[in-house]
Symmetry: C2
Subunit: 438 residues, 2 copies
């Protein structure tokens, strides 16, 4: 039986033109990460099952590994990582004595989740994270830097307007405390408030007052709070006018204010304080944020992050605090390709095709190509002798705009397929530098 070559649902792969877009996205994000001194770090795709389970992951999402003919028990202990944070924590704990703190790393790796695949959800996908982990308290300057880097990255992507929505878990918990709700109840409320975009104000209100049996007054206050989307400038005044007197709440407000003050002025317009944002109330302990593309709010967030006080508690005797952010690269790619947000036309990096009239001149053609490469211009020499029309067709199909001809006289000519212009080139490096410099 011939093996099936059908697409495996949830495991995306891109055509060369699409991969070129992904590479450009990666290049722009990485450039921002590196410019802030974040260092590249990778871990194996595989961790001990006990490592992954220590973080309370839902078991059914884990992909466990075993050798097709397992010889021993060892392999049953391995699984593919489902995020980059747990491996990061394990890495920091394991190499603690060989790292310099604050340890600032970026990480671009695939993760795997045995989720049911659906739009924007994959079983294998890239995440592109940064984190700063400290040996002692993480200053709010680090939260501000992570937010700054994330905003700069999305600005560099040029995918249209975007919003970084920010909140603070202390503010949230303090607010719920001030209403007399305990943490269990607060978590239930957060789940409901998270649905605001989907079920609207009325829906949230009725779930709060009916399903959760909160008073109309409290439900009303929660809804009002959740609806607040404040610019950095209006934030403090508006929140103080709520008249909430709670220590946690005030601490949260101060933290947001401190972070905002440290984000460069020209980036502030991308930031919105969103008092409904909770990000699941998981391990985050202070700043939380997520990023959405303004034209595709219904797609949900394409990046997120925050501060967590205890990165390594499971692996080290002492807790290490951290702050970080994660871009859902594959998720973002899905949106970019679906909506054509980036031109996907080049199926190869070559900028010039060197044509070949006959096999005797191939070495000369190779030499011309080397002259181009020497000045940083990727190019290729046509692989065989064929009619010129065929060779030009190949260049056009691949998105190679320039075709170079080495005449028998030794003269070199180059044709711009876009403008149809053909001219003699006396000195290849000079021509290439002039043509391809930005």
């Amino acid at each position: 039986m011939a093996p099936s070559i059908g697409k495996i649902s949830g495991f995306p792969e891109w055509l060369p033109e699409e991969r070129a877009v992904e590479e450009e996205i990666i290049r722009r994000i990485r450039e921002i990460y590196v410019s802030h001194g974040f260092t590249s770090m990778e871990t194996p795709a595989v961790e001990l099952l006990s490592t992954l389970r220590s973080q309370g992951v839902v078991d059914k999402e884990l992909y466990v590994l075993r050798r097709a003919q397992a010889l021993d028990e060892e392999e049953a202990d391995l699984a593919l990582h489902f995020d980059l944070t747990v491996p990061f924590a394990r890495y920091v704990a394991q190499h603690y004595n060989n790292l310099h703190f604050p340890f600032r790393r970026y990480c671009l790796q695939k993760v795997w989740r045995g989720d049911r695949p659906q739009r924007g959800r994959y079983r294998e996908f890239y995440q592109f994270d940064i984190d700063i982990v400290c040996r002692e308290e993480v200053p709010l300057a680090c939260d501000a830097e992570v937010v700054t880097v994330m905003v700069k990255a999305f600005r560099a992507l040029e995918l249209g307007d975007f919003q970084l929505r920010m909140n603070n878990r202390k503010l949230l918990l303090g607010f719920y405390q001030s209403l007399g709700l305990d943490e269990t109840k607060a978590r239930e409320v957060v789940v409901v408030v998270d649905k605001l975009d989907k079920i609207g104000v009325k829906g949230v209100f009725s779930e709060l007052s009916e399903t959760l049996a909160l008073s109309r007054d409290i439900s009303q206050k929660i809804v009002e709070m959740a609806e607040l989307r404040l610019s950095p400038v209006e934030f403090k005044g508006r929140v103080e006018s709520l008249g909430i007197s709670n220590e946690q709440f005030t601490k949260g407000v101060d933290e947001i204010e401190s972070v905002l003050r440290l984000v460069p002025g020209d980036l502030q317009r991308h930031i919105q304080v969103d008092l409904s944002l909770a990000r699941g109330l998981g391990y985050y302990t202070g700043t939380i944020f997520e990023i959405l593309l303004s034209n595709y709010l219904d797609f949900g967030s394409v990046a997120g992050g925050g501060r967590y006080e205890n990165l390594t508690g499971q692996f080290l005797k002492h807790e290490l605090p951290a702050v970080g952010g994660s871009i859902g690269l594959t998720r973002l790619m899905g949106l970019i390709l679906e909506r054509g947000l980036f031109e996907a036309t080049k199926s190869c990096p070559s900028k010039v095709l060197v044509t070949v009239y006959n096999e005797e001149q191939r070495n000369i053609c190779n030499e011309r190509a080397e002259e181009l490469r020497a000045v940083g211009v990727p190019c290729e020499v046509f692989y065989k002798t064929a009619k010129l029309g065929k060779q030009i067709e190949y260049a056009a199909a691949k998105g190679i705009n320039f075709v170079l001809f080495v005449q028998e006289s030794g003269k070199t000519e180059v044709k711009n397929l876009h403008s149809k212009e053909q001219l003699e080139v006396e000195d290849i490096p000079t021509w290439a530098t002039e043509t391809f410099k930005h």
Copy 2:
């Protein structure tokens, strides 16, 4: 129970300084691949088990995936890929109508093998491949280009002298035919000859004549042939002087000669025709090669490749021929780190640390950092206010050579930690461009 954070045998991970070396290695290889117009391509880490098994892989090396709580049968069909060639074949077959041929791609991905880990052998490792696949016959110019690109890549790595050992399967089979050996016998001979480096001439001779029961005369001829290591210049004359009259053999000789003629002159000195090279006589059908570092011949090959006439026969109705090469990146990294072939001192990309005297000046420090980033200099601002000595220590530990001070007067000074020189900087972009341009 606290989860173990012990290293998982066979799944290497690097410290930041080591990862910086790996990134530099990748950058240099990729630059060469891209300069020849190879396009980036990736596939999922996961393939259908039937796809992987179609290539006759040894089952026990496969890592099969299942969800920790599998709900259906589907997952039992998935496994991690064990090389990049089978997924490439599946990709080409699946996307056949959306690719432009010759399709020239490079691929840097991890692969997984449930091997017993040992020196230079990993269970998870990177391969860094190029391949050219054609719709019809692959011209020998493509073999020559792959060889050229591989040699250029290793030259760019500057790991000392290296040898690309080349042979041709037709030459090998023709030679064995001329001795009256059938293909089964020839395969047995190849296995023995492969041990030449380990057991020496006498060892090979006695295995041929005793274990394989070949005549002393034939055994002698095989040993003589296997010992031949010829430079491109001496190849043809020396091989013709053997007086072997066999059509296959002659075709193999001609192919080698044609490939050699198309490799640029300045690269020829890295090439050796090695008539003992067989690379397992697997799916290769013509050119075969491998690369060894001259100072570490006992480590074995760090790259290899060749031509195979039937890439896609398992997946498509028609066969597609291809030629390619693969660098064992993780294997190479293991050697580089073990022998210190590359300096691993920088644990972050930052070139400048901007110090902070007090939190009030942090925004000004951030602005100075932005001026550096604007001219392409990665840098970071110290994360908190600490004694200057501490901040300088941090820079030194991370391999950041320049420390910048923003004085209260507004003046900016910069200290070179290596030369101990400290000077005032009037214009940051000018200073940065002068200091960090190559």
